[in-house]
């Protein structure tokens, strides 16, 4: 059973990893957190779920729709909460993006109601058994799509001019501008990609939990926050590793201790890490820590 629980933990971790990637991209681009990303994931997931159950479209199409919705919502968030907000006030984009999150949640409950929505299974009945290990169809989809998205993101960031530009802006936005990189456009692109990842994470999480509720947005943001702080702010790889770690820790706590202590243990872990090693477990550059 331990092996099965470890696999459960890793699966949980992969959904955390996507949303952590999403947050870390924005941290890299702007040294700021977009507190509406949890709601962005939620609205993408709800729309995806509704498309699948009401319009009867396939998972692939619903997934692409969720990505597009995430991208659009994140783009709008950038314009509302970051582009025209003075950089001098550190709390301003935090509160502003929290406001956007509030609006998203409220609009969703207004338009589609406050009920949770079912996310239909994709590969129903598919079950792979390897020794004591059992992996069902949905889990297979989650694992492979999350892995694919991560690989695509790494490829994009490391192998394309725009990806290099994103990393350049994340290192030093002024210098990137002096090299001819259109910084504001690159930041908008970063938000759009981050929204795409949030959308993917939202629908895959929905698939893993079988439903989505309009009230999970803020919770998602909190989980992501814990993950990226543990992994080192803005550290893309650190975030992925920390996500898998937290997934496993949460799962094992629930399985062998009690769900009541799950959050307690995660919070303590993050708290102790911050005090003992403020740059996170795997820091990329300590500069970010000082700037955010």
């Amino acid at each position: 059973m331990l092996i099965q629980q470890l696999v459960n933990g890793l699966l949980l971790g992969t959904t955390f990893a996507l949303i952590a990637l999403s947050f870390n991209l924005v941290v890299g681009a702007l040294d700021r957190l977009n507190f509406a990303l949890g709601e962005t994931a939620m609205v993408s997931a709800i729309c995806g779920a509704l498309f699948m159950s009401q319009l009867d479209i396939t998972f692939v199409l619903a997934f692409l729709a969720a990505l597009a919705i995430g991208a659009v919502v994140a783009g709008i968030t950038f314009l509302l909460s970051f582009r025209f907000v003075s950089a001098e006030y550190h709390t301003a984009p935090i509160l502003s993006s929290l406001g956007v999150g509030l609006v998203i949640t409220s609009l969703v409950t207004r338009v589609v109601g406050s009920d949770q929505r079912r996310v239909p299974s994709v590969l129903e009945g598919v079950r792979i058994e390897i020794g004591p290990l059992r992996i069902v169809g949905d889990q297979l989809i989650i694992l492979s799509v999350a892995a694919l998205m991560t690989v695509l993101l790494y490829g994009f960031l490391n192998r394309t001019p725009w990806g290099t530009a994103i990393r350049g802006v994340s290192d030093d936005p002024d210098m990137a501008g002096l090299l001819g990189v259109p910084v504001q456009r690159v930041i908008l692109l970063t938000f759009v990609i981050s929204g795409t990842l949030a959308g993917a994470s939202g629908l895959l999480t929905g698939l893993s939990f079988h439903t989505v509720s309009p009230f999970t947005g803020f919770e998602t943001t909190l989980t992501a926050l814990m993950v990226i702080v543990l992994g080192g702010l803005g550290n893309i790889t650190g975030g992925v590793v920390a996500a898998l770690m937290i997934g496993v820790i949460e799962t094992l706590t629930v399985a062998y201790l009690s769900a009541t202590y799950r959050d307690l243990i995660v919070f303590l872990l993050v708290g102790i890490t911050l005090v003992a090693r403020p740059q996170g477990l795997f820091t990329r550059n300590t500069g970010v820590v000082g700037r955010v």
Partner: protein, 291 residues
Amino acid sequence: MMDAYTEAVVIRLGIAILLALGYWITAATGKFSFGHAAFMSIGAYTASILTVKFDWSLETSMLVSGLTAAVAGAFIGWIALRLTILYLAIITFAFAEIVKILLDSWDYAGGASGLFGMRGTTPQLLAICIGVVIVYLFFLTRSRKGLSYEAIREDEQAARACGLGVTRISVEAFAVSAAITGVAGALSAHETLIITPAQFGAPQSLLIILFVVLGGVQYFWGAIVGAVVLTMLPIWFDFLEEYYQITYGLLFVALMILRPQGIVGSGTERRFTMRALARLSPKRGKADGDG
């Protein structure tokens, strides 16, 4: 005599003002806590246990709850205030969640279903508390210590370079802030009649921050303005019904673009000069001492 409604509104307003003033003290040093609801719940539970289970008077319990919250505030401040804004935010937030989880599983205090049977908050009692805090703030903002708060808020590096004990000053401000928040929590518990851990979650912490950010951190009376506006908005805008949340969210987006410094305050022009900071330096000759 006030009718029940007026009294309820006055008390709610008073508690909001007390919370805002308490928070302003730490915000004045540039340290934003995202878990002040924890100090509220510590105060609320301390006072409620004393009045309900031990039959203490509300006044005495209130003082004890302020003290308890101050101790908790000093502890968290000592751990977290050396870190940057975001990390302070996360530590304080995690602390609030941990307090909530612990209260949820504390059977003596009623666990998740909470405590009830508290009563006794009066407008007079609140007026006295607010009066005391305002007098304290009046003298604080005109003192050397008040100036050092401003110095730390505007430029912590420079303040440190001038030899200010930044950590000690911030921790002290944080503890006083927690104490006032704890007293506000105690008074709030004795008005709401029932307290549950769920009432002191992230939304409550956020509301307290909003009081101060909306009002502006420059002057303490800005916090009062913020508290009054945010408490009265839901009452004034009752007609918005289900569109209230949307309006509320958009209001914040607009405010952060148009007046990120809050309703009160002069904005980007820094009133604070480094010359004033130099006056603060205990040893003038050692202006660029330990960095």
